[in-house]
Amino acid sequence: MLLTIQSLTKTFPGTKALDGVNFDLSAGEVHALLGENGAGKSTLIKCLTGAYRRDEGEMHLDGRLISPTSTSEAQELGIGTVYQEVNLLPNLTVAQNLTFGREPRRFGLINSRAQKLAALEMLQGYGLDIDVGRDLSSYSVAIQQIIAIARAVAVSGKVLILDEPTASLDAAEVRMLFDVVRNLRDRGLGIVFVSHFLDQVFELTDRLTVLRNGQHVVTEQTAGLDRLQLIHHMLGRDLEAVEEQGHTGHAPIVERPAMLHFTGIGRAGVIEPFDLTVHEGEVIGFAGLLGSGRTESAELLFGLRRAQTGEARDQSGPISIETPQSAIAAGFGFAPEDRKTDGIVAELSIRENIILALQAQRGWARPLPRAEQDRLAADYIKRLDIRTSDAEKAIGDLSGGNQQKVVLARWLAMNPRFLILDEPTRGIDVGAHAEILKLIDRLTEDGMAVLIISSELDELVVAADRIIVVRDRRHVSELTGSAVTSDTIMQAIAAEDHAPAQEVAR
């Protein structure tokens, strides 16, 4: 065995995140680490790399007892890690991030030319054509994710750990990543792979380990399990087939009254002016490649960036979407893509995070009564199955997927008429995934319109009534009704500019 972990235990105040977990990894395998949100996957990884101090447990690498107390020690031992939240430094350039701690030096000083060359070399094979001399923060989460992977791959001499690396990647990038991973496996590395996409698990991994509530459930050959068995291991119960599928109702939009009209919304250098009509109770999907301008479109709609052109109106006349506040007043909601910086208010409790938008709308002088707050919190903790010891826990201490659920809950509590969800299911486990899709379904029945941005084509197909394809900062085409399938979307995304994707008839 390359790496063995024995009876690892880690307790946080109020939570036993890991309870005597065993784990092993052999050289030349890809080992999936699975479990619901909050099962303890990220905690296991952080204990392994010394980011957390473990309470108990022994770890051996190559038969030698190891006990890294800092991530740099782990790196020196040959363990490269991509943590769940992109953990790179936004204020450094891409090249600095990639070579950090191992910068090429001449006469003891960093040689920045060699540094850039080294960075470019590290990025080879990921199909990324970017200026490595620019700050990391000028790139999207997805690109940062790839950069983080490239960096981890480069430092990992023996073990590579990927904690939900694919959460914000699109299909093409995922394929690229898999090629890289297989290549490394063939070179004899041991790879730990965490994901909530079961398809990817089955495609890529050799063995898998399932955790539940901080306890080890099972370790098996991936090939020896089927999807339903696996889900059973993860949830401790069965998930009904329909539930996992979600709904697939692409009701024709003609039946629905239009609710909002956006005309000519745009901003130079961000997105070309586009029109959008939103009907009551419909689910619109934005599809496109990374960096195509989906997030930017949504940000303009929500007033997070100011639109230079265009206007928004509903039945009663023009509405202002100049700032998030005015958009919210107009009944909009927006769950952002980057939950760490735009979503959660880390130190505040789950309860406070859930009521934040509601309270902001009521104004400071009319506090939501405490009983009402507790009721809302309890309600959403139950409905979204948020795993927490209680509603007063700081949201920053929740697992990634559970944080995402709280952010969703914040907007659901507002009961908006138009809800924009940017990558809403990022990092959410199968059970909750189904739950959220079901929830969207229920909300739209009550008349709420939802705009989903997702890199998961399957998810879009399942959820959306209408798909708008965005490419190169332009809204290029629209698919509706039965035309909404993974393949048609793919085609529309890939179509060349001068050969515009055909408008699929309704």
Binding site: A51, S70, T71, S72, Q75, T81, Y83, N87, L88, L89, P90, N91, L92, T93, Q96, N97, F100, G101, E103, R105, G108, L109, I110, G133, R134, D135, S138, R267, A268, G269, V270, E299, G303, L304, R305, R306, Q308, T323, P324
Partner: protein, 323 residues
């Protein structure tokens, strides 16, 4: 061009324009004499600011520098008076003391997770308090070596003096540039400025780096103290009150982000020279009362920062920054 350099370029541009305007009004300002004065008079500030820049780049702050300068002067003067040691030996001793002092503050900041503002505030009280305990008098320094240092300068054309301490300041800035931008330690400093938690996950040895950063600042304050004692030829426990704020202002004017993680050491030099230019301009003008002096310094500082913000904003505008 990397947008990161915009604040630096804006700073340099504004400084040059300001210098031109001042020279137009008082032609003597455009002389090697005033240029030499700018370097000499701000030498101690420049050296302090180099240390301060590194601290600020890491997302911290060091309020103790002014007091450490005062302590250094008193330490040197008292040691020279009471022991027969050569100034160079005393310098070495002093630098060891101030470096250790900085390191201790860095250690407290990291180990007890206390905010730098408060730890260095206590350090500020402590250093000045110790200076008082050494002597409450101002102590003159009379040593041949000191006179030698004070008299060593290169006479530039136009009678301007390029003094030893002025050159030392420039060299320190150069060293600072290398440390901040060309070493792994510097990279770790920037990393800390980008976020401690992230830096830790990237493999930065946070504790060691923090200690080193404040030790560096302590060393620079000690060096600035030496320069200050050469400049004034004495040690005085009340010296350099408020220097920390001037240094911070210079660093910020130089385009370094106070929140940490972004900035250039060279900008700090420009920031220091800008502060000096403001002073010089006010002296040349010579009509401002005590209170108007304060107001004008504030207003010039503000306009400088606003101009810089405006320029940077103009050059990055089209991306439509998010709210």
């Amino acid at each position: 061009m990397n947008p990161r350099t915009f604040p630096l370029l804006a700073t340099i541009a504004i400084f040059l324009v300001a210098y031109a305007i001042c020279s137009a009004q008082y032609p003597t300002i455009f002389s090697s004499r005033v240029a030499g004065n700018l370097l000499t008079d701000n030498a101690y500030l420049g050296i302090t600011a180099v240390g301060m820049t590194l601290v600020i780049l890491s997302g911290g702050i060091d309020l103790s520098v002014g007091s450490v300068i005062a302590f250094s002067g008193v330490f040197i003067a008292v040691m020279l008076r009471d022991t027969g040691l050569h100034p160079l030996v005393i310098f070495a001793l002093l630098l060891v003391v101030t470096t250790l002092f900085g390191a201790a503050m860095g250690g407290l900041i990291d180990i007890l997770a206390m905010p730098p503002f408060i730890v260095t505030l206590a350090g500020m009280f402590l250093a000045r308090g110790v200076a008082y305990m050494l002597t409450i008098d101002s102590v003159p320094i009379n040593h041949d070596f000191y006179s030698f240092l004070q008299k060593s300068y290169y006479l530039m054309p136009g009678k301007g003096r390029l003094t030893f301490i002025g050159v030392l300041m420039l060299l320190t800035v150069l060293a600072g540039m290398i440390v901040a931008h060309r070493t792994r330690f510097g990279a770790s400093v920037f990393a800390l400025g980008g976020g401690t938690a992230t830096a830790r996950l990237m493999g930065v040895k946070v504790r060691r780096t923090t200690v080193q950063i404040y030790a560096f600042s302590g060393f620079m304050s000690g060096l600035a103290g030496i320069v200050f004692s050469i400049y004034t030829g004495s040690g005085y426990p009340l010296a350099a009150v408020g220097t920390e704020l001037t240094a911070i202002a210079a660093v910020v004017i130089g385009g370094t982000l106070l929140a940490g993680g972004a900035g250039y050491m060279f900008g700090t030099l420009i920031g220091v020279l800008t502060m000096g230019l403001i002073q010089t301009y006010i002296v040349f003008d010579g009509t401002l009362s005590s209170w108007w002096t304060k107001i004008v310094i504030g207003v010039l500082l503000l306009s400088f920062i606003l101009l810089q913000k405006g320029l940077v904003h103009l050059s990055t505008r089209q991306r439509g920054a998010r709210i």
